[in-house]
């Protein structure tokens, strides 16, 4: 898929907000707002069922939160700091256990998942973080290769997959660069490449554009959008109001640990 696919889509709304830095497209919106073409009938990816998480002694981070996310969806999770967004992500990765309720990912009940199976879960859930979390002493290619080595992939498969995914994120020429030699946006691209190299059905992004300037953020969002179009479910926590308003995707808003809003094509704030 070409990057121009995304640029050339014409969408009716939000043209006024503008998208600086998108080459030659003037006031075009970045992302189409039509429903995605991948088949939506393939079931649910994430289910939160009356999930409550209380940190010791009695700080409640999530309070009776329920929602379901279908396969192939692109969902924003918004909310102020301390509203429970990070807790939600940590529950999805089974870094934490809910105090009550059920968390189901890809049909698997995480509360019943054995600890020894957690690495398998994480291999099927790509993660992208605000601070990239790249291994500092490995090159861009090495970081991606490590994710494959961990799963016991063969050398041949690593040699085939790493260049492929690097070209997907537009960094074919940076394979041998260390993270410190890359810009923030490039590091985030590497981190995304690492997250999707083994084609996980679910990609979780924790403020992936939080440390990046607006222009770079646009590039990252285009990349994530393309990944989503290819069929990967994306759950993205963000503070980027402009981006959420522009994309018109499903928005889940948390407020003090409660589900405040769940809109199919929402904005950052409710209208």
């Amino acid at each position: 898929m070409q990057e121009s696919d995304v640029h050339t889509q014409v969408a009716p709304s939000d043209a006024s907000t503008g998208a600086n830095g998108v080459a030659g497209n003037g006031g075009d919106p970045l992302f189409e707002s039509v429903e995605q073409p991948i088949d939506p009938s393939s079931g649910t990816m994430i289910v939160f069922e009356r999930v409550t998480k209380i940190y010791e002694p009695n700080v409640s981070a999530l309070n009776d939160v329920s929602f379901a996310i279908d396969k192939g969806e692109f969902v924003f999770v918004v909310g102020a700091s301390g509203s429970g967004k990070s807790t939600m992500i940590r529950l999805l990765l089974k870094e934490l256990e809910p105090t009550s309720g059920r968390v189901v990912v890809g049909g698997r009940d995480l509360t019943r998942l054995k600890r020894s199976r957690v690495p398998l879960l994480r291999r099927n859930v790509g993660c992208v973080f605000q601070d990239f979390k790249l291994l500092p002493n490995r090159t861009a290619g090495g970081n991606i290769a490590y994710a494959l080595k961990v799963q016991g992939e063969s050398k041949a498969s690593i040699r085939r997959n790493v260049p492929e995914v690097l070209s997907l994120v537009g960094l074919s020429d940076k394979t041998g660069s260390l993270p410190e030699e890359l810009s923030g946006g490039e590091q985030q691209r590497v981190s995304i490449a690492r997250a999707v190299v083994n084609h996980p059905p679910l990609l979780i992004c924790d403020e992936p554009t939080g440390n990046l300037d607006p222009d770079t953020s646009v590039g990252i969002m285009q990349l994530l959008y393309r990944i989503n179009r290819a069929g990967t479910t994306i759950l993205m926590v963000t503070h980027d109001r402009e981006m959420v308003d522009k994309m018109r995707k499903r928005v889940i808003a948390l407020e003090d640990g409660r589900l405040a809003r769940d809109e199919r094509r929402g904005g950052y704030t409710s209208e």
Binding site: L93, E95, S116, P119, L120, L121, R122, R123, C127, K133, L134, L135, P136, N137, Y146, A147, K149, V150, Q151, G152, R194
Partner: protein
């Protein structure tokens, strides 16, 4: 995890963390060098004590076919035992059979026993006097009026005061305690160094866990690194000890002019102990330490 991958991961992180690698290796080196020194000195002191104690003993050697016309009979041996046991001067009588004597010799001076086809050593009694000063009286009482039948030779102990033996005993004990203290403290020191190196890489561990590495996938290379540090540190310590032994020891012993039959444990034993301890502390130390950081 495949062995090749394990080794390549270990070596790349050893190379990438040179300063912590060197620090851990040096810690092992120092700990193991001191351990080896203490074991050598301690075992020397123990042997010194044994030798002194030996000197306090009166030894009664019985006839064998080689030394007298015929070997001493059990009855003759029993008679001597009774005579000794009834004496007020005697504290303890120990029977050392031919076989035991050979065993002892094999342990102390293996090179002498190597080529023996049969056992030439006699049965013997080791007689401990109630007081170190009475050694001569004990042997004299046994000789009067004549040597009992079946006895080939009676050897006096030297008149060494009990105090020398006591000093040697205290010395041995002191070295034993010092060795244990050293063992514990160097284990803690090494564990601490490893902890620091792992702590400085906890972010790395966190990332490994996030991309789905199993605990053993993360732990394996760390343990192998610890093991390599342990091996390298111990081997250097052994080399240094060997140099010290070859260079420094002759200079000291010449001046002391002590008898050469006092021996520390063979160097091979000491080396083996150092190597085993070094490797164990290195590998197990990192394996245990990393557990705390694995629960991401």
């Amino acid at each position: 995890m495949r062995i090749k991958l394990l080794f390549s991961e270990s070596f790349r992180s050893l190379a990438a963390n040179v300063s912590t690698t060197v620090a851990a290796t040096m810690t092992v080196l120092i700990g193991m060098f001191l351990l080896g020194l203490f074991i050598a000195l301690g075992s020397w002191a123990q042997d010194f004590g044994e030798t002194q104690k030996e000197k306090l003993l009166v030894k009664v050697y019985f006839c064998t076919e080689d030394t007298c016309a015929k070997a001493a009979t059990p009855a003759q041996i029993n008679a001597v035992r009774q005579q000794l046991a009834s004496s007020r001067l005697v504290d303890e009588v120990t029977f050392v059979s031919k076989a035991e004597a050979l065993d002892r010799m094999r342990r102390q001076t293996p090179q002498l026993v190597e080529n023996l086809s049969s056992n030439p050593l006699p049965d013997a009694f080791e007689v401990k006097a109630r007081d170190g000063a009475d050694v001569k009286l004990v042997s004299a009482s046994l000789r009067q009026p004549t040597k009992p039948p079946g006895v080939e030779e009676i050897k006096d102990g030297d008149e060494v005061s009990d105090q020398v033996v006591n000093v040697a005993r205290v010395l041995t004990l002191a070295f034993l305690v010092a060795t244990i203290v050293l063992l514990v403290s160097s284990a803690l020191l090494i564990a601490n160094t490893i902890r620091l190196s792992i702590f400085s890489r906890r972010r790395e561990i966190e990332v490994m866990k996030l991309v789905g590495a199993t605990n053993w996938f993360v732990r394996g290379p760390f343990m192998l690194e610890g093991l390599i540090c342990g091996v390298v540190g111990s081997v250097i310590a052994i080399v240094m000890l060997l140099l010290a032994k070859e260079a420094a020891l002759p200079a000291i012993t010449n001046r002391l002019s002590t008898s050469s039959d006092i021996q520390a444990w063979p160097f091979v034993y000491v080396s083996a102990i150092i190597l085993v301890v070094g490797i164990t502390v290195g590998a197990v130390g990192s394996g245990l330490t990393i557990r705390r950081f694995l629960n991401v």
